[in-house]
């Protein structure tokens, strides 16, 4: 026989039929079903294959702790692997596949691994595959050959290769009280906190709030617990100060009471509504947290305990009570505690036969005895299950008398027919979040369980997490915790709901494993057996962390929710130590796996914002090829049809040198430096003097880091006595700003200087070339621009077609040039006016490539040379190091390492074979293409120089200047470019600067 839908009962909507597909077969279920409950209702017992031995596995739990029944949710090429079928709500069109099997789930070739049996014991990888020391398989080759197959056999589901079309979002939330878990304890906590006016968030990982009330047989306030829960939920929903988050797993407890949660917004829908995210990543900052996370049932470890049909007892109760599904017809129950008797009661009521309850204890409570007497065929106390029978499904079990004192079986085994075996090994409170925000968990002998530790953050616990397993305790603890969390003055319990519950004994027998022949699984997903734990002990891997790492116990997707405590107990027994002395592992986030998409949230598909200059649209409309410079987009070339990049920048460069060109320099960092001490401040941060700069003039400045290396360079303009405009390189704008802010706040708080980023306030266009002055003269009103009015490094104010502009005569290209600044909102207007005004002079727009070419010809340095390792001397900028004053870096710049003779220094390079050079190529004195060696430096930048008619570059070369005039070679094995070069001065073009001064 197989599992089936009970004829009545459950909280599913039997009127609504839902169609879905599993492994290519069509199935139906009802609204309210999980994939696991719906498949069980259809008689499916085989859900997956285990990790190592590929053993057939059924469903073991009904929730987030499921180790076995993992599936892949498929939507075309978009795949979501490793999802517990117990957590998937079915919807029309849902398509799921089983995993880790080939060719099919029933006939899996990987199951041959089982023949390896003991050979594949824990740690076997470490002991073999090393391969021979010599020969073709030496080194890592044999291992890598074997690894190829091992990798294919390992892994669970497959990730897709297609882009996930879903949207993900984040949400920042603030509340007074966050309640995690919506069982009776959580509901009461939320209610109590809400009543006192607190802002409350109640998060529940399941679709339907209510927790165990949804599947217990108890009554609360005279009504079925589930009904009580839904009415309590209804009341909470009506309150403005309560936010209810179903399908939301709180998975991380971070510093300062910040918790992370993932809400599965549309996973249960056939299609999202417009704009709806699939997952919402909540970061919740709570004043106080109430952890009402309940407890998880543990299995027992015995031979054959992994056969499909073996299920946790409470899971079975949930299947029958919540989903109306009978996991079998003839059911046996194997337990070390009373709680499993509840399942017997529920299943019997729904029509199954309870073949036997096998209880490890000889003595059981009266309440349990009464249940057994009323519903059970046989009540075998002082017995254990020592084997299960059947193929891919349980068909029977073997039982044997068991003695708790010696923890051993004796006497003759006998067989019982059963198609389902329910197991309970006691309960582990769900202390994961508590442990993330607390000290060491506390072991309670009586409950055989770890209880929440002492908090290191602001949380309270209520309900089963505290080891109080009765509903009445959950109600009273929940209410008290909620009231306390909300700082309610009226913490009086008042009239609390009354739970009408059984009086079963919460304490289990301290037995975790039945030792008998056969494979007894501790970690079902990773196929870690009790013998593996003992082998780890034998080899000395006795600390919990060694045990986990050596055997992989608890490292599977369920993170050991069913296996950690049994594994620990077996190790403790082997060591002859009490469990707490062996320890527990620290729980780390996440509590349950979280989609990467949720964490990336709104940055999925939008990793970084784009920064656009004011003239960006003009560049795009006029054919610019854009180049990513950090977050900015900058024009690289304005290519004409059919032009190569080189042809384009050569054309642009020639146009500038021979006439006039316009380039967008808006991305340069711009900082307003204002205040009575602004000039004094600049003297301290620049290597050269600025206090001597006249108003209306600009100066090139160099900054060092404290350690004496170059930080950045740029021009700074004195706009007024107390008002400077500093420019930085595009790349270093943020870094320089922070550097300066640090100095003002921390080192020199006495200076009255304000810094403001005005990068975005100004549009900047550099107009360069011998005809630039004429273009300006044609466009600018309100000021003269001739050499007297606007000398080199002078600044004037005027207007261009109605827009106010500020013009500084400075040059990066080496030509007569000006930087024209205007308000960013006028940027395109001014740019277009200059382009139009320059038409008669043959003006061209030019991009970074032409800009770079002209700066190489001039020997100006940029980020490629200012790479954080170069000094002012290395770059021949020592003329800028003032001797009249200390400045940032002056005390450290003369250390021996910064003065060494063999440092890399800036030089120029000319290609002697008339072939292009590459940035990143190295330079050698003796060429050896086969075995490159002896690098003396590298090229930082390279281009074709139209003025020289040669391929040239800048380089950092050991010894630098001393090599001027000598020959060497570029050695670029990565791009197979080798050839002769000449090392020259970095000033290729107009070293006297007569053109820009002209």
């Amino acid at each position: 026989m197989s599992p089936r839908r009970a004829t009545a009962g459950g909280r599913i909507d039997r009127q609504r039929t839902i169609r879905f597909t599993f492994d290519g077969h069509q199935f139906t279920g009802h609204a309210g079903d999980t994939l696991a409950s719906a498949l069980l209702a259809n008689g499916v017992t085989l859900f997956g294959r285990s990790f190592k031995y590929h053993r057939p596995r059924g469903v073991m739990t009904a929730g987030v702790n499921e180790p076995n029944a993992l599936v892949t949710i498929v939507n075309g090429g978009v795949r979501e692997p490793n999802i517990p079928a117990t957590t998937v709500e079915i919807f029309d069109g849902l398509t799921a596949e089983s995993q880790n099997r080939f060719p099919t789930l029933s006939y899996d070739i990987g199951a041959l691994n089982q023949l390896g049996g003991r050979l594949l014991s824990a740690g076997f990888y470490y002991k073999t595959f090393m391969g021979p020391v010599i020969g073709p398989l030496k080194g890592t080759r044999l291992w890598m050959a074997c690894e190829y197959f091992i990798r294919r056999a390992a892994g669970l589901g497959s990730a897709g290769l297609e882009k996930d079309p879903a949207r993900y979002e984040r949400m920042n939330a603030f509340c007074d009280v966050l309640v995690v878990g919506s069982g009776p304890a959580g509901l009461m906590a939320a209610q109590a906190a809400a009543e006192s006016g607190a802002r409350v968030i109640l998060a529940e990982l399941e679709a339907v709030p209510g927790g165990s009330a949804n599947w217990s047989d108890e009554a609360i306030d005279g009504m079925p617990a589930a009904k009580w829960a839904s009415s309590a939920v209804g009341k909470l929903k009506a309150l403005e100060n309560v936010r209810l988050l179903p399908r939301t797993t709180v998975w991380g407890y971070y510093d300062d009471n910040t918790l992370a949660a993932v809400e599965r917004v549309t996973d249960h829908k056939s299609a999202p509504a417009k704009g709806e995210p699939r997952h919402r990543h909540w970061t919740i900052r709570a004043q106080t947290v109430v952890l009402a996370t309940g407890a998880l049932e543990r299995p027992l470890v015995f031979p054959g305990n992994d056969r499909p049909g073996v299920m946790l007892a409470d899971a079975a109760r949930r299947y029958v009570n919540q989903f109306g599904v009978l996991p079998g017809e003839k059911i046996a129950i194997f337990t070390n505690n009373d709680s499993a008797y509840r399942a017997a009661h529920a299943l019997k009521k729904a029509g199954a036969a309870i073949v036997a309850i096998i209880d490890l204890r000889r003595e059981v409570s009266d309440a349990a005895r009464q249940i057994a007497a009323s519903v059970v065929g046989e009540h075998l106390t002082g017995h254990a299950v020592v084997a299960t029978e059947g193929g891919k499904q349980v068909s029977g079990i073997k039982v044997q008398p068991f003695d708790i004192a010696t923890a051993s079986v004796s006497g003759d085994p006998r067989s019982l027919h059963a198609d389902c075996l329910l197991v309970s090994g006691g309960w582990s409170p769900t202390i994961h979040l508590a442990s993330q925000a607390g000290l060491k968990p506390v072991w309670i002998e009586q409950l055989q369980a770890f209880l929440p530790p002492q908090p290191t953050q602001k949380w309270l616990a209520a309900g089963a997490i505290t080891g109080s397993f009765s509903t009445q305790e959950a109600i009273s603890q929940g209410h008290a915790a909620g009231a306390k969390a909300a700082d309610s003055k009226s913490a009086e319990p008042g009239d609390l709901p009354i739970a009408d519950a059984d009086s079963l004994d919460p304490c289990p027998a301290p037995i975790f494993e039945i030792k008998a022949p056969g494979k007894a699984f501790v970690d079902h997903q990773h196929d870690v057996t009790a013998d593996d734990v003992r082998l780890a002990h034998r080899e000395g891997f006795v600390s919990v962390e060694h045990l986990k790492r050596y055997t992989t116990l608890g490292m599977a997707t369920d993170q050991g929710k069913t296996s950690n405590v049994p594994g620990l107990a077996i190790m403790a027994e082997t060591l002859g130590k009490p469990i707490p002395e062996v320890g527990t592992t620290r729980f780390r986030p996440p509590f349950a796996p979280v989609s990467v998409g949720a964490l990336a949230a709104e940055r999925y598909g939008d990793i970084r914002p784009e920064r656009l200059t004011p003239m960006h649209d003009w560049h795009v409309e006029n054919g610019a090829t854009l180049y990513a410079a950090g977050l900015w987009h900058r024009p690289m070339i304005y290519g004409l049809a059919g032009e190569t990049v080189e042809q384009a920048y050569v054309r642009e460069t020639k146009a500038v040198r021979g006439g006039v060109g316009l380039v967008d320099v808006s991305t340069l960092g711009k900082i307003a430096v204002q205040g009575p001490d602004a000039a004094a401040f600049l003297d301290r941060v620049y290597t050269n003097m600025f206090s001597t700069l006249a108003v209306g003039k600009a100066r090139y400045g160099l900054m060092l880091r404290e350690d004496g290396f170059v930080l950045d360079d740029g021009t700074t303009w004195r706009l007024g006595e107390h008002d400077f405009l500093m420019t930085t390189t595009t790349a270093n704008a943020g870094k320089v700003m922070q550097h300066l802010e640090y100095l003002l706040d921390v080192v020199w708080p006495e200076l009255r200087v304000h810094l403001t980023s005005v990068t975005d306030q100004w549009a900047g266009a550099a107009i360069s070339g011998p005809k630039s002055r004429e273009v300006l003269a044609a466009c600018v009103t309100g000021t003269a621009v001739d050499n007297d009015a606007l000398p080199f490094m002078g600044i004037v104010h005027g207007e261009i077609d109605g827009a106010p502009v500020m013009i500084c005569r400075l040059s990066f290209s080496g030509e007569l040039a000006y930087e024209v600044y205007c308000g960013a909102g006028h940027g395109t207007h001014v740019w277009a006016t200059l382009m139009k005004g320059g038409e008669n002079f043959g003006i061209v727009p030019y991009g970074l490539e032409a800009l770079g070419t002209m700066r190489i010809e001039k020997g100006h340095v940029t980020g490629a040379e200012i790479d954080g390792r170069t000094t002012a001397r290395d770059l021949h900028l020592d003329w800028m190091l003032s001797k009249k004053k200390p400045f940032i870096g002056s005390a450290m710049m003369d250390r021996e390492g910064l003065l060494a003779e063999d440092r890399l220094q800036l030089v120029g390079i000319i290609s002697l074979d008339n072939r292009p050079l590459n940035g990143g190529a190295h330079i050698v004195e003796h060429l050896d293409e086969a075995n490159p060696h002896g690098s003396i430096g590298h090229l930082t930048a390279a281009c074709y120089s139209p003025v020289l008619g040669r391929y040239i570059g800048l380089a950092l070369v050991s010894g630098g200047k001393a090599r001027h005039g000598s020959r060497a070679f570029v050695s670029d094995p990565l791009r197979r470019r080798f050839g002769p070069i000449e090392i020259v001065s970095h000033h290729f073009y107009d070293p006297e600067g007569s053109r820009m001064h002209g």
Binding site: Y254, T258, T456, E706, Q738, P749
Partner: protein, 100 residues
């Protein structure tokens, strides 16, 4: 981790930039004591426990703060503006619009 900016209130660590060890004193600018400079730039107390450090509220008011924070627990016990001489407790009430 939250840091309570004296101006902006408690904000996520993601709004702040760590600006390093706050135990260091920059030598007098004119000092030629190489050992003192080297110590300032390179040597760190790096304690396991309470640590005096400088943070910038770069994603907020941009002020630099002196923060005492435990490097074992991440618990912040003191915050004050770096501009203010000496250490001042982070105050809940914030002063007139201006200078806190």
């Amino acid at each position: 981790m939250l840091i309570t900016c004296p101006y902006c209130g408690p904000r996520n660590v993601s709004e702040y930039t760590y600006q390093g060890d706050g135990n260091r004193t920059r030598p007098d600018p004119a000092s030629t004591d190489q050992a003192a400079w080297n110590e300032y730039v390179y040597d760190r107390l790096n304690p396991a426990g309470d640590h005096h450090e400088i943070w910038q509220h770069s994603g907020g008011c941009r002020a630099h703060l002196r923060v005492t924070r435990n490097t074992l627990t991440h618990v912040v016990t003191e915050v004050s503006f770096a501009r203010d001489a000496g250490h001042r407790k982070s105050e809940r009430h914030r002063k007139p619009g201006a200078h806190a």
